[in-house]
Symmetry: D2
Subunit: 351 residues, 4 copies
């Protein structure tokens, strides 16, 4: 199928461009009879939306969701949930100066090459706006996972070279960069604010922990739990890498160091990050993703335009100096969707 | 669908356990009328097979392939290619001492938890033996990609902490670790041989370069080219991470550094690794994967058995001290499969 | 995947209940750069909508479509088309008297058994209203098929025992039952009006002809062209059977009669209905479907309610005495969708 | 995906041509821990194989199955079952006289048009031989359905214009045409033997009854239980139509006649054939398929060859005068596969 759907038995299909009339998602395969309301979903939307704090874009998006099907008297019916967000702050004219230029780091050139047609109003499907549908669908999945005792938390591990050295889950939602270390958080905010002031941006690392997954989840051979999570994370626009457990550090380890030994109480270490052979082993599932610096910067850059001419470009506008804090809820959403789908597939196998 | 298939329009489905009677693959969606023979595929199989050199397991597998359908008079017919490899050197008795113990680093415990049944003869579907079908299918995809002018090469970038510092493609198949730097290669061989002598193992990094892909390949939103490659690579047993272009290094970069600027002649840099917004940009596609140390080591380790008792275990036998050299052809195979599928999907979109 | 999607490379996903807030469809895999407008789609919507004539329900639905994504400056962009129809004439209170009873012929009982939850406001996803999204998506497919020289026409072949004996394509859209024989059409209208007056309904047969398909379309083994058409047609609520070419009559024929012999100019007969071995043979594709009588009738019937009690029921309201005339555009839409998908899959195979 | 796979969660993928080296199937998604042996499957294979009786082809095929993966100590492991049948009685030279001619009723012409390549040795994937893999996979599904209390029986309802008027299930496997009426069976045998003697063939009708399915099975909207069964049945080579319950007769019925009324004890009638709104209603599921006359006849027919020349052709050889008796186990197999898949999907929804 074309690329706007994810999942086998818990399946989401998104639509919408950043400067079109709406974005949204159809969620098919929702367990019937589960209590759900728009407020529950809106909480997640608000974590993703722009303009939350000093370190995110001041651009105002309307992230108010509407559920138009699949619910009855406060419960899911098992039929497709349709969730829509109408765009209201569309300002395509803001993009008129970049109408013909390919913005460095953006998908302008590649989309034109793929489709042979150019919608110059913002980034279209490649915009971060597209993730709104994912976050809405992820909240539905999260609701279903709660019943299974599964919880998922992501947070900024590093931004602009500043790394968290402690882990305090309670502060994540209390600092604007969603870091897990209060000292690092403070430094990160300063760094990001400085970059914003000079029109530049920076990358970072987001880490995700999934708890409560019993051993046995995941579908070998091609649909391993880590393979599906990797696909889901790399499908997020700014993500350039993923690693599980020790990840790339494993390249420097010996087998005798990396193998997680077992006692009756479970694994002694968690170098594998909770997944062995593509199947959960009961330990916390841990992965990290590499987030590239936001492409939109107001520093002058060399580029080409659609006429094949060279030009310089400065992408002024309302952009996030680091996208990490807003990637966090998207990572969680995609992780929720992957897991819920895996649980349903596991149920099918054993049915 | 269950997890033994990959691909939408170029689709592979594998079967077989390491100690069963055969492993193999059905390849569906093969372009008809293409010249192909078993010898072409066998070349790739021989790169994957054990016992190639001093640094791979001396275990002898029979990697001779047989094409039983989908061909007529030396050409593909467009119907499913079925490729089988019969197992002949099965020695399940070699596994009798580990019949009841969960080998650290292996999927013994997770498979039992998932399926509720234990086939104690080796690693079953989690065995490296499973990749034989992938390599066979990958050779078919490679044949189809040749017609498109696409070439794919992978190699060992690092092993056991020793990293390649130069890149000489011509030596890759001429050194037993498949490294791209002759000086590093020599050191790696020594390191691996030493580890083999003490019954330990080490991890490494494999890098892959894909050339000849024009701009425009990849399916946003969920089936981005990098997302599909990430899934395909993480579906390989020993892989714990992947990164594209600058990858995790991007976390420390500024937008003004990371953005690939353009001239009329193309991109000035390739920090993105050839993919932007999930679509190829015409530059070389570059990614690296983290390979964990081989799990089977003869060093004594603490573990649990199926009765819930603790015990120590030493996995003697015929194992690779580093799996990198044999992962290389599997990485190439999976990359070929992903790309051929993407080309077919692109053709469908524009049809 | 759950059941609200159809198609591999031209893929539709629908949502919405008859008495919810909206129904609609996401169409993914649309060829980019094709001129399309809402008016083109609206033509098909108007053929499906209720209240068109004396023989359809006087119920007024708002079948005005809105395209909210996937278009730019009058052309498709290749990204998902999202088409929505807001419900406006919802009168769930009209259903209050049947709130607890299972209407004979309707899916009330089976939906409750499947989902364990009852949305008593009309027929939900089992409502004919659900087909609006299909017709919209079908119009998109029709646009793409026009470029291939393919045309599709369906019509009422029989209603209430009255069968068309001649075939005059020009009159189909000019009579309220969409019959192909003017004499039969007149009798059918009288029959249907009579049934409406006594609160009963009748079934019929709809025939479909597809022209311009060159030999070679269809995917053996499981996705044969006739198999996909059969699935697509049986997915329409009121359809109870399908036959291709001579269909059930073939059961009484000899091989020497049924085999379509060939000359240099093509097939001498078309008993196969244009499909052999699941692949188009270049002749007109012809199939017929059996349409059951509308389930909603105002004649008293015996039934059960959700409390397990027996009761009688009369389904008063605004219903079609025969659904055939409004099934016609749905049949065409689904045929368009199947064909466009098959063309895209054929392109993928040969890419 | 290409067309050689069926099923979402119980998934089969077949390969093999009639005159290649082998045919077979990968069955993925098999419930682990279920007792199964080759003998159980072989029973079904023997019902399908040629040469069973005076009314089937005297051609001898080797239908001995081999399970090469997915089993351990007599139980399924949950990993892919691979089942192969090696071809041994290949006589491609028997087809040399028809090497260049398109046999009427066969897929020779359409396959060439689709693939652009001609494998003239028999019917390739369009051969009845292809169904061997389906029957093997169907036996696996049947085993799983037994645990659910579901049973499936198909039989010849009519052949060559002779129709069964009584239903005695006990005689089905005891007469060579697999009819359900002993008087009709005798007439059918005579008719078929006569046709065989003059080198002609005839069509027929096969009916299938599925018992033990509780209300609630099936996936609206597109994957309705009847839609999936229709696709599965039309994917069988000789099938030209399908109808559920009253089927085409419904076209002549009134709503007041066709609606199945309910009492506390269930439905009073079963005009719907056990499926309403695409979901099982607890009544027996009943459908009939139209089987065309065997295409291979030795009567002289007009045709074209690959050089575009007209010629006459007589397909001598070893063929079934009516394929109905051998279609019966294929119908059962496909019905089993559809149902098992639906059960697994239902489990996923409610998980």
């Amino acid at each position: 199928m074309p690329g706007s759907s994810y999942g086998e038995q818990f399946k989401i299909t998104t639509f919408g461009e950043s400067h079109g009339e709406a974005v949204g998602v159809i969620v098919d395969g929702v367990t019937p009879g589960v209590e759900l309301d728009e407020a529950y979903i809106q909480v997640q939307m608000d974590r993703r939306k722009p303009g939350q704090s000093s370190v995110t874009t001041p651009r105002k998006e309307y992230d108010e969701i509407h559920i138009l099907s699949g619910m009855f008297e406060g419960k899911t019916t098992g039929t497709p949930l349709f969730i829509v967000l109408y765009n209201k702050d569309m300002r395509p004219e803001a993009y008129s100066d970049i109408k013909n230029a390919f913005r460095p780091g953006h998908a302008d050139f590649t989309y034109l090459e793929k489709y042979g047609i150019r919608d110059h109003r913002g980034s279209g499907r490649a915009s971060g706006r597209e993730t709104a549908g994912r976050v809405a669908a992820g909240a539905v999945a999260r609701k279903l996972l709660e019943r299974r005792g599964v919880s998922i938390v992501a947070y900024t591990k590093a931004i602009g070279g500043i790394e968290c050295e402690t882990f305090d889950e309670s502060i994540i939602e209390k600092n604007p960069v969603r870091a897990c270390d209060p000292v690092a958080a403070e430094k990160m905010v300063k760094k990001v604010e400085h970059l914003a002031s000079i029109g530049d941006s920076c990358g970072g690392i987001v880490e995700c922990r999934i708890r409560g997954v019993k051993p046995g989840l995941g579908e070998p051979v091609f649909d391993k739990l880590d393979a599906e999570l990797a696909k889901a994370m790399l499908s997020i626009g700014a993500v350039k890498g993923i690693e599980f457990g020790k990840g790339f550090e494993a390249a420097n380890m010996l087998g005798s160091e990396h193998n997680d030994q077992m006692t009756k109480d479970g694994y002694v270490t968690n170098n594998a990050g909770g997944i062995i052979g593509g199947i959960s082993n009961g330990a916390e599932i841990v992965f990290r993703i590499a987030v590239k610096p936001t492409s939109s910067i107001s520093v002058a850059q060399q580029t080409m335009n659609i006429f094949g001419e060279e030009q310089t470009i400065e992408t002024h506008g309302r952009h996030d100096p680091s996208i990490c804090p807003r990637v966090v809820p998207v990572v969680e959403a995609m992780a929720c969707i992957v897991l819920e789908d895996m649980y349903k597939r596991q149920a099918a196998l054993h049915a």
